[in-house]
Symmetry: C2
Subunit: 343 residues, 2 copies
DNA sequence: GTGAAAGCGCTAACAC
DNA sequence: GTGTTAGCGCTTTCAC
């Protein structure tokens, strides 16, 4: 079932079929109608492969994420897909399983079949990334700055987000705090880590991963250091931490407060509901697409975008044990939102 | 950067380059080495598009899921991707957002660019599905039987799974039970629904969706009917139900027991830990690939596979209020696992 | 307005 | 062994 079949049955040339099917208005309405009818009854579907080769473009973009099982990424991908779809682009998703090598392989593989790439929270190191993307196709990164002129990024103001939780916790009277640090290869983690260390006196840093099981495993280390507050790399880790604290019979937020990052849907459905730094997931996806679309066009837009997170205070954070009753001495923060702004 | 560039620089024909790069051993080792060296230093990457057109096959399969944000699907997809990767196939994932129309569009779109399709829990109706897949490329469905000879499936024995929870609940003394039914378009839901109605006397059926917010919203209706046990379409819904019960100050499992389906990772990290029917997600993915691979080969393997779920008893289910203390009268079930078996 | 023909980058007969 | 050649299914000048 090729364009030739349609052309023959419609008594026109393949060129004409192509014109009609691509909405060129330069065709006799009568012929156009005939072509449409025939291709409909033949259930003709042009081969995207052949179109891709002939056009030199596939109208497809690839997005690579470290872990689809972390609901954060699907949220971003969904918004991205909708936005790209509006511009008639398809998106294909791939999961690197938090593995830098696999990520690099996926970049290579996808590069051969798509018009552009969106790397969500890429884990590969700078040099490898630069090499993989070099001379390659239009690429945008989310959650990471990579060689700015080469690649354009949409990032989150992690410092702001971290400061927001930290100030909130300080106002509640907490003095000893732990940060459950995520993957060493995560740029967001590095930024968050830097922000805690800069803002909080002598924080306890516990290296962990990005999954609930990691959070579960890391709680004892934090507790041993005598903390009353635990800030986690992400919500999945925070969920694990909550579970461990419960297993250890530590009241949350009575004895220890817990906060996460991301604001995945589940954060609001657990007990106690999770206080977290919400990242604008949908906007992250949308903006990523917009940036990529620009690069796909003229090619050399070099602006990056920075989005602002917002603190969502729920039930997992409260007064530090032994703090004076009544409102905290710091300014009440509550749940504040900051508008995101381009940069 | 095409194969012609490599050929020129290596002083051979394009055919030879192609042979070398495709691992044909029919080439002079000296030439082969030279070709490899040149293509390496030119950083040559064959165009998957051109290869696809020339070979008539892309070595890529598409998988369509209703909702990537439900961790159940990423688990399946991950296992599927690993299995396909072992056979040198790439996987592209698409999310239909629980929308039958979108799903059909995705089938159409992907059909034009992949060698085979895996439809996870497809939501479109039988007729549309049959039409979309008809004469189309090799397809396998998971979680749904669709026109068996046309499409081959890997399904879960939902009846068995439902019976397991139901028996467990009955043994705990429950008499009034609600089933929070998922999307009407879900085959799994239809099967589970049929199983409750066949096995439980006068169950309360509450129509809901597939997300936590749906579960949250549906709890009052169940409570109004005076139930002491709630079985949910999936774990996400169960998480929402748990949250609502807490908001309503109903003790779980003291006053009401809750169970889900799937066993997503989070099920074990919430409070109380969720009793659920575990579906063999990894095996679902693996078997789907194996079935598709067979169809990709000779083409007409027509066997389907049925996998067995297992009841995982955690903390969200307990004795019905007012039941006699001591062990339940029914046979103790605990957490039992049944080996999955082909069919 | 329409068709013929060239070509996208690759593979695979088929000769040599 | 290796090169020549003919496509794969489509788009797109370029004549007519």
């Amino acid at each position: 079932m090729t364009i030739a079949d349609v052309a023959r049955r419609a008594g026109v040339s393949r060129a004409t079929v192509s014109r009609v099917l691509n909405g060129q208005h330069t065709v006799d309405p009568v012929l156009a109608e005939r072509v449409k009818r025939v291709s409909r009854q033949l259930r003709y579907q042009p081969s995207a492969i052949a179109q891709g080769l002939a056009r030199g473009a596939t109208r497809t973009v690839g997005v690579i994420v470290p872990d689809l099982a972390n609901p954060f990424f699907p949220e971003v991908v969904k918004a991205l897909t909708v936005a790209a779809g509006r511009d008639d682009f398809s998106v294909v998703v791939a999961d690197s399983d938090e593995d830098a090598k696999a990520e690099l392989r996926l970049i290579q593989d996808l590069s051969r079949r798509v018009d552009g790439l969106i790397l969500c929270s890429p884990r590969a190191d700078k040099a490898d990334l630069r090499r993989a993307v070099r001379k390659g196709l239009p690429t945008v990164c989310t959650n990471r700055l990579v060689d700015p002129p080469l690649t354009t990024s949409v990032v989150i103001d992690s410092e702001h987000g971290m400061h927001a939780v930290l100030d909130h916790l300080a106002a509640l009277g907490h003095r000893r705090l732990a940060y459950l640090a995520g993957p060493a290869s995560s740029f967001s983690n590095a930024e968050r880590l830097r922000a805690v260390e800069a803002r909080w006196p002598d924080p306890v840093i516990v290296a962990t991963g990005s999954k609930s099981a990691d959070g579960y495993a890391s709680v004892p280390a934090a507790l041993d250091a005598g903390v009353t507050a635990i800030v986690c790399f992400n919500d999945l880790v925070a969920l694990g931490a909550l579970a461990r604290l419960r297993a250890l019979a530590r009241a949350v937020p009575g004895e220890v407060s817990v906060a996460g990052f991301d604001d995945i849907a589940t954060a609001d459905f657990v007990q106690p509901a999770l206080t977290t730094v919400r990242l604008p997931k949908a906007e992250l996806g949308r903006r990523s697409w917009e940036l990529l679309r620009e690069r796909l066009g003229d090619g050399t837009s070099t602006v990056s975008v920075r989005l602002e997170p917002s603190l969502i205070v729920r039930e997992s954070t409260g007064m530090a044990p032994g703090s004076p009753p009544g409102p905290p001495t710091g300014a009440p923060l509550g749940s504040f939102e900051s508008p995101s702004s381009p940069n």
